[in-house]
């Protein structure tokens, strides 16, 4: 039976579905569709009513749908090194027209099912049915999938369609592309890049612009070494907003609509504030949900924070959570024994594997760095510049530590699990020092593991399980020592 989903979560899912559906519709109607980095000031695009899609969100979705490897490999075949960020590789392969598709027989136009796919078949009592011939569990045919193959939309479009057979084949090949929304995102007419997250973003978007021969609108946020954002830095970003507006006016042929911009800013602030309040519910003991759920809701702050629907959906979720905490209910599917901060972007292709040892040990994730990372709250334009200056990888170590220790304290964590993410050099680059500070300042143990946000080849499950085990033992010892001291 499917897990019961609260109205807030349902609303949040719809918001993201709509973003993708609207963009597909816009593209079909011949309107401009853009791709944007997640922390580009979306308020600017909203002021022009532009349909904008988010390659980072898309790459995470593709990775979670287990197509990260085939897309990363496709990018590598185009010449992009496997050291490059997995999101960038997936996105660049996609921009080049590469798609994960379903294998089919070109003669019969029937899918070729992968016998290894699918879930075990269960009987009426929920017991796994064993195949008497092989002694292994039988597969539920409804869950079995065709083999995954790589295809190319530009190759498909170049196919002839003179005969009935050719047309049928071409159509089937189009339809064979995996049907989930991230694999059906329209190609871009322009790109919006803000490098507050990383410099890789700059090169990634330059590559897309070159590949598709489209305009690139760039907001450059140089790295900052101090907690405060100086006026000179604000002036630099303000001037870029003006330049970006001018560029958007040229691209759209529309005048900048200040009213719409103000509305988008108001929406973005409302969403950010609701997002932060939702994140704050993780402070309750036990937490009414698992921090892993926040990773899913991130899609909304990324793709729709300038839209009123996103703000409303988060406010709805907030209400659900308020009800839940009244009764002490939680959606975490296990009793919470330990609370940890999960540092970094999750390994999307391996979410179940990440979750498994946590569940087994009663470890709930009650803090994630994404909470403050998307809390762009501001009063005016200068404030907006300052807000966008503070992305996770554009702040100095003191600010980074302060954010994290703040949520660790508020959300009462017993330990920290650090993802050394092969894809993210700026993020992982000062984690060793941060770990030392967490332990020194908060007295909590930390454990690091090697992984990747999108490329499953960089995750070692055995190492991860050992590290989680080590962290649990350290938290256990800490707890015992505290209890002994209390006596």
């Amino acid at each position: 039976m499917a897990k019961a989903v609260s109205p807030g979560v349902q609303a949040l899912r719809k918001v993201v579905d709509d973003v993708y559906a609207d963009a597909r519709k816009a593209k079909a109607e011949g309107k401009l569709v853009g791709w944007s980095s997640s922390k580009f000031p979306c308020e600017l695009a909203e002021a022009f009513d532009l349909n904008v899609m988010y390659p980072e969100n898309q790459a995470a979705g593709i990775a979670a749908n287990r197509d990260g490897e085939i897309m990363c490999q496709a990018a590598e075949d185009l010449g992009y090194d496997n050291d490059i960020c997995g999101y960038a590789r997936i996105s660049l392969a996609y921009a080049a027209g590469k798609r994960a598709s379903r294998k089919f027989d070109p003669e019969t136009l029937e899918y070729i099912i992968d016998p290894k796919s699918g879930k075990p078949l269960k009987d009426a009592d929920g017991k796994v049915v064993i195949d008497p011939e092989t002694g292994k569990p039988k597969k539920d045919p409804k869950t079995m999938q065709p083999y995954t193959v790589l295809d190319d939309i530009y190759e498909i479009e170049a196919l002839p369609e003179t005969t009935e057979k050719e047309r049928a084949y071409k159509n089937f090949r189009r339809e064979a592309i995996k049907p989930y929304r991230q694999m059906r995102m329209p190609q871009p007419d322009f790109v919006l890049c803000c490098n507050n997250i990383c410099n890789c973003m700059t090169k990634w978007y330059e590559n897309i612009a070159r590949m598709r021969n489209i305009p690139l609108i760039m907001i450059d946020i140089p790295y900052n070494n101090t907690v405060e954002v100086h006026d000179t830095n604000v002036a630099y970003v303000r001037a870029q907003f003006d330049a970006a507006i001018k560029q958007l006016e040229e691209i759209t042929g529309k005048k900048f609509d200040e009213k719409k911009f103000e509305q988008a800013c108001a929406n973005a602030n409302r969403t950010a504030q609701a997002w932060l309040r939702v994140c704050d519910y993780l402070q309750y003991k036990p937490a009414p949900y698992s921090g892993f759920d926040l990773f899913n809701h991130m899609a909304d702050v990324v793709t729709a924070r300038g839209k009123v629907a996103a703000a409303e959906a988060f406010e709805l979720l907030e209400k659900d959570l308020a009800e839940q905490v009244k009764t002490g209910a939680t959606t975490t599917p296990f009793p919470e024994q330990y609370r940890v901060m999960f540092e970094g972007i999750p390994c999307w292709p391996k979410l179940p594997n990440l979750f498994k040892p946590l569940k087994a040990n009663g470890v709930n994730v009650t803090a994630v760095v994404y909470a403050p990372a998307f809390g762009f709250v501001y009063d005016d334009l200068d404030g907006m510049c300052r807000a966008y200056y503070k992305a996770p990888n554009s702040v100095c170590i003191e600010q980074g530590v302060d954010w994290r220790e703040g949520i660790c304290r508020a959300n009462k964590v017993d330990g920290v699990l650090v993802h050394y993410n092969r894809s993210c050099k700026p993020w992982s680059g000062y984690m060793a020092e941060m770990q030392r500070r967490f332990t020194a300042d908060l007295g909590v143990p930390c454990a690091g593991f090697d992984g990747d946000q999108a490329d499953p080849r960089n995750f070692n499950e055995a190492q991860y399980e050992t590290r989680v085990q080590g962290l649990v033992e350290a938290m256990e010892a800490n707890k015992a020592a505290k209890e002994a001291a209390a006596k």
Binding site: N199, T232, A432
Partner: protein, 378 residues
């Protein structure tokens, strides 16, 4: 002095930067370490101090730096940190940490934390909008911060006059190096690949005026040589760095000359000069604005393939028959630009080979095979 004697002197410096640093310190000079990329060395010189480039090391092994970074970081940055931690750089009076790539961003923090009160760390963030007025202003703002920090270390103000003088010194150094690159490409029989690198590398360690004077002598000797009758192959080198003598020996052993380069440590950073008159801070900002065709820099005309087209032009103009790309491991800006470089080279019919390198490499057997095989097809 003969060409060989001069080359040996540069090689001595290139091989022993620690000796050079110790010598400057013994002379009572203050020395500022300069990490890649685009730090304005002019400001250091104007403050009466010696800028010394830090480009990792071909001899050290990463050990202490592991306390700060995971394995998947460029070895240039890791080894710079290693040398700050293991005492090699203890004599420095300060260090400038630019942050133009994703490794240098967190590394600036690691270095600052690791150095604590031991060494002043001067932070530098360049804008990616180099040319518009607001970008120029941001560069001036950042350089002004650097200037103030340098003044504190020097204990004296940097005057405009001193800065103009430093610009002249640096312009002369860059001009001499550019001239040398040209002459070395024309006379490979006189300047081996190993020694060519030593000359360019030593510029990062020696006082610029001293290096320029010696280099001008060398250039004069090279210019006086009869036209070369080079029978070997000629290539253009590309990448962040290729200064390992053992790697470059493979070129010399196989009769491969370096006609010119698109290497950050060699020519990429010395392509343009600063104005010697007017507001000197603005002149430095303008110089950065004039930089172009670099994997580290944003290209406002990004839908074109300008950098790769420029490299193709360099290959053609230098008379190189092909390109050897030294791909620094974990350098994502360089890696991100590779597919479009390849596209432009292929379109122009220029053969190339991509070699993965890092500064922990000790065995060059594979590189040797690849370079030999490449030379055979040229």
């Amino acid at each position: 002095m003969s060409i060989d004697v001069l080359l040996k002197e540069f090689q001595e410096v290139s091989e022993h930067p620690y000796k050079v640093l110790s010598q400057y310190k013994a002379e009572g000079k203050k020395v500022i370490g300069v990490l890649p990329y685009y730090a304005p060395e002019e400001l250091v010189i104007a403050a009466g101090m010696v800028p010394m480039g830090i480009w990792g090391s071909n001899k050290k092994t990463i050990a202490l730096a592991k306390e700060y970074c995971a394995t998947f970081y460029c070895t240039i940055a890791q080894l710079a940190l290693e040398m700050l931690l293991d005492g090699t750089m203890d004599q420095l009076d300060g260090i400038i940490t630019p942050t133009i790539c994703d490794t240098l961003r967190p590394m600036s923090q690691n270095i600052r934390v690791a150095m604590g009160d031991k060494l002043p760390c001067i932070f530098l963030a360049h804008p990616q909008y180099r040319r518009p007025a607001f970008g120029m202003q941001f560069t001036v703002d950042q350089y002004t911060n650097v200037k103030k920090e340098l003044e504190k270390i020097a204990g004296a103000e940097i005057t405009d006059e001193a800065l103009r003088g430093a610009i002249k010194t640096m312009n002369a150094s860059r001009a001499a190096r550019r001239e040398f690159v040209k002459l070395a490409g024309q006379h490979p029989e006189a300047v081996s690949a190993v020694l060519r690198s030593a000359v360019l590398r030593s510029a990062w360690f020696m006082e610029k005026a001293e290096h320029t004077a010696k280099l001008q002598q060398l250039n004069a000797e090279l210019a006086a040589l009869p036209a070369s009758n080079w029978k070997g192959k000629k290539v253009l080198t590309s990448g962040i760095i290729c200064d390992n003598p053992k790697l470059l020996q493979i070129f010399d052993d196989n009769g491969i000359a370096i006609a010119a380069d698109d290497v950050a440590q060699e020519s990429r950073l010395i392509r343009v000069d600063a104005a010697e008159t007017g507001d000197p801070m603005m002149a430095l900002a303008q110089m950065y604005a004039d930089q172009d065709y670099d994997v580290l820099l944003f290209d406002e005309k990004s839908s074109e393939n300008r950098r790769a087209d420029y490299v193709v032009k360099q290959v053609k103009e230098s008379g190189a028959q092909g390109l050897i790309l030294f791909m620094q491991q974990f350098c994502d800006p360089e890696e991100m630009e590779y597919p479009y470089l390849k596209k432009a080279l292929d379109a122009a019919g220029i053969p190339h080979v991509k070699l993965g390198v890092d500064q922990q490499m000790r065995d060059f057997g594979q590189a040797s095979t690849a370079i030999q095989a490449f030379a055979d097809v040229l």
